[in-house]
Symmetry: C2
Subunit: 491 residues, 2 copies
Amino acid sequence: MAKLTSREQDYSKWYNELVVKADLAENSGVRGSMVIKPYGYAIWEKMRDELDKRFKATGHQNAYFPLFVPKSLFEAEEKNAEGFAKECAVVTHYRLKTDPNNPQKLIVDPEAKLEEELIVRPTSEAIIWNTYKNWIQSYRDLPILINQWANVVRWEMRTRLFLRTAEFLWQEGHTAHATEQEALEEAQTMLEVYADFAESFMAMPVIKGVKSESERFAGAVETYCIEAMMQDGKALQAGTSHFLGQNFAEAFDVKFTNKEGKTEYAWATSWGVSTRLIGALIMAHSDDQGLVLPPTLAPIQVVIVPIFKGDEQLEAIRSVANEISKALSAKGISVKFDDDEQNKPGWKFAEYELKGVPIRIAMGARDLENKTVEVARRDTLTKQTYPLEGIAETVESLLAEIQKDIYTRALHFREQNIRQVDTFEEFQQVLETQGGFISAHWDGTAEEEEKIKELTKATIRCIPLDAPLEQGTSLLSKKPSSRRVIFAKAY
Amino acid sequence: MAKLTSREQDYSKWYNELVVKADLAENSGVRGSMVIKPYGYAIWEKMRDELDKRFKATGHQNAYFPLFVPKSLFEAEEKNAEGFAKECAVVTHYRLKTDPNNPQKLIVDPEAKLEEELIVRPTSEAIIWNTYKNWIQSYRDLPILINQWANVVRWEMRTRLFLRTAEFLWQEGHTAHATEQEALEEAQTMLEVYADFAESFMAMPVIKGVKSESERFAGAVETYCIEAMMQDGKALQAGTSHFLGQNFAEAFDVKFTNKEGKTEYAWATSWGVSTRLIGALIMAHSDDQGLVLPPTLAPIQVVIVPIFKGDEQLEAIRSVANEISKALSAKGISVKFDDDEQNKPGWKFAEYELKGVPIRIAMGARDLENKTVEVARRDTLTKQTYPLEGIAETVESLLAEIQKDIYTRALHFREQNIRQVDTFEEFQQVLETQGGFISAHWDGTAEEEEKIKELTKATIRCIPLDAPLEQGTSLLSKKPSSRRVIFAKAY
């Protein structure tokens, strides 16, 4: 197996190679669309199941809305339409027919042109609010707390596996409320759900914040976000939660009678995370040997590799390995015993490192005699010999330790790579020589933001929710500012 | 709440009303596409989770392939293309722009025309076999056992909620094998998985069989199916498993080196079930009061309705209800305590009957005194008083009994409505006066099949796998036949 390009050498190439070599995904025969392979999909299933549990625990139910959005609905909320019109797939016909010039070929049947074009959903506010209109008459019909797991399509011109694809999988929550306050709280609650998921499940620290106006979701009044730092110091937006005000209710005429008997427009939120999280996961933790997966997300948490000569040794090891597997399974730990005789142990070691299996147990004849096993941690690439007795408990606590350590390492890396900067000269210098996140004052205008982006390619990732009040002057205009924001180059 | 149309009065109307009134689904703003509402989606989630478990237990993994199929791939397998070309959604453009004549409106941007049209997948053999081509070189790469949960689009002209919609949710398994025998066995194994799921989980008896050539999946060599009888005697195809031979391997040039070092085409299967199963579930079991759900699929298995005057009584009942709920939850039984004071008990009874909650527990002041509860079964609409002590065990065994009884009732109904017929006159008469399934001899030709369909609207649902050998003469041509097939009108 050819080695991966190292991160130092070419971070971007390292990422692209790793996604393919670790069997997570590949490009397909359709421009910009990926095939998510079983190993990558197994990680997505774990993310999905955990998020789904958390959505349900916060009172949400799943439902399913149509893939297609008729053009007249698509254009109803003007800003949303404007935001997505430039990159959407449009269905115009509903039939193919045999090419009269070549009976082996099909052509679009011009007689099967749709009266109204259908947009493949890039997001579902339009189709959902058009539905909510019929569901909402009274305050008693509220709140509506619905989530959808679905595919969406955005016609991106420059795509990268997981990070930016024309089609991707995601979940989108769409809620309706009787009051502004309740909708705001919902948007904030879901931000917390995302942040806690990212940190405790993906072992990926995130900064919670709000977007500046220019980075806001098209149609939102406020966009909350979680931003994570990748190992190259760039930022990745890992989830967003939007307070939509009454914009969609007005666009789709969704009114209800409140407790006082007056008619008002409903208040809305929407929030989503996508298969992009797999890209974030890879870039946050993995190394030059391959994936590093937090145990919570690893499709295989423990692999047992026998080191043997001949069937007799293999059988003796197998019988001990079966015991270990049983004990681990009983604890809900997934384990694989790899007795494939086609591949040598060394090959297997490299393979499971590439795949990010958190713990590898190796067992040879000597271990059998000594009643020991060799346990290797994927995250630290360290090995240690443990007694066979109580090995399931050892592995269990080691998995918890690995989960914690991966998070701590990422947090430490982030802390070392957020820098406070007070002048634009310093800003440029830090960005060029060290990268990372820069905490700096901003005058709050789109002009300054745009100018900085033009000059440096860094954008405002967010205004952190916990940013302390602090007097300062902004980088370019030198106007007074009362809190710092986070700048970074971003995926 | 207005009563449902009865099944006797108008079966079709009954179905349509029930789907909407029980909050399962509704029509959307997109022609032929439905909104699956939270209650309907919760049933689908239960089906999906159970099927997914069974697929994994038989060695399959999930993956995800693109929504779009480029036209050149779509047309590669000729029969498959021919089968789906007449009803497919075609993406021709990737951008909208502002209408120069009306800045509020968007129009398709003629400059954003795709070089090659994209078909929204009606099924994924083409895109998947185009991918498998790169995955399969040697017999060591086989078998590939993959399943996908996805949405698909078929431009049906006459649609009905769940039964036939332009977009629907389904799973599609796509496997590749080194030998014909192995692929055949896979197709049969998955048929068994479907049949067992339908019978043990949906409580819906099915006949396992193979399709006649004219009813075969486009591109298949053999289509296995399960057919269920609805309460109006019509048949519903509930799942299909296709042996695809080497058709797709040839079309997409998927060759591998076998153990003997020779190159051959891979052997394929595909198999799927869809949200149509929810339609089958409804029509197999439900009655004039509403849904009848087998406990395995009921989003709420037990509802507790307090019958009280004043807060004091409610609180006393609530405390006992909490105990019951805890005991039921501990057994994995889902339970809801409905203490909503807006609605009277009678209204709630009707509502939960409509929603098909298998068991309703009612508790009043008298019950508190006597340490009893009133338990009503949804399937039989019968009530019985039970001691409070051991109520969780009582409910648990009652749920098992209900599951069994629903199945037995459906089986009994089917047995009463399959009739052996030996002449075409009798065939017509039985079909018109009694309906149901007709077991009759067929000469094996597409001509006779077509003629019978023309004259009676009944089609061959399947050639049952367990049909005994029996000499007879076919209905119209009077040619000799060695086994009976199942005819019926179908959904």
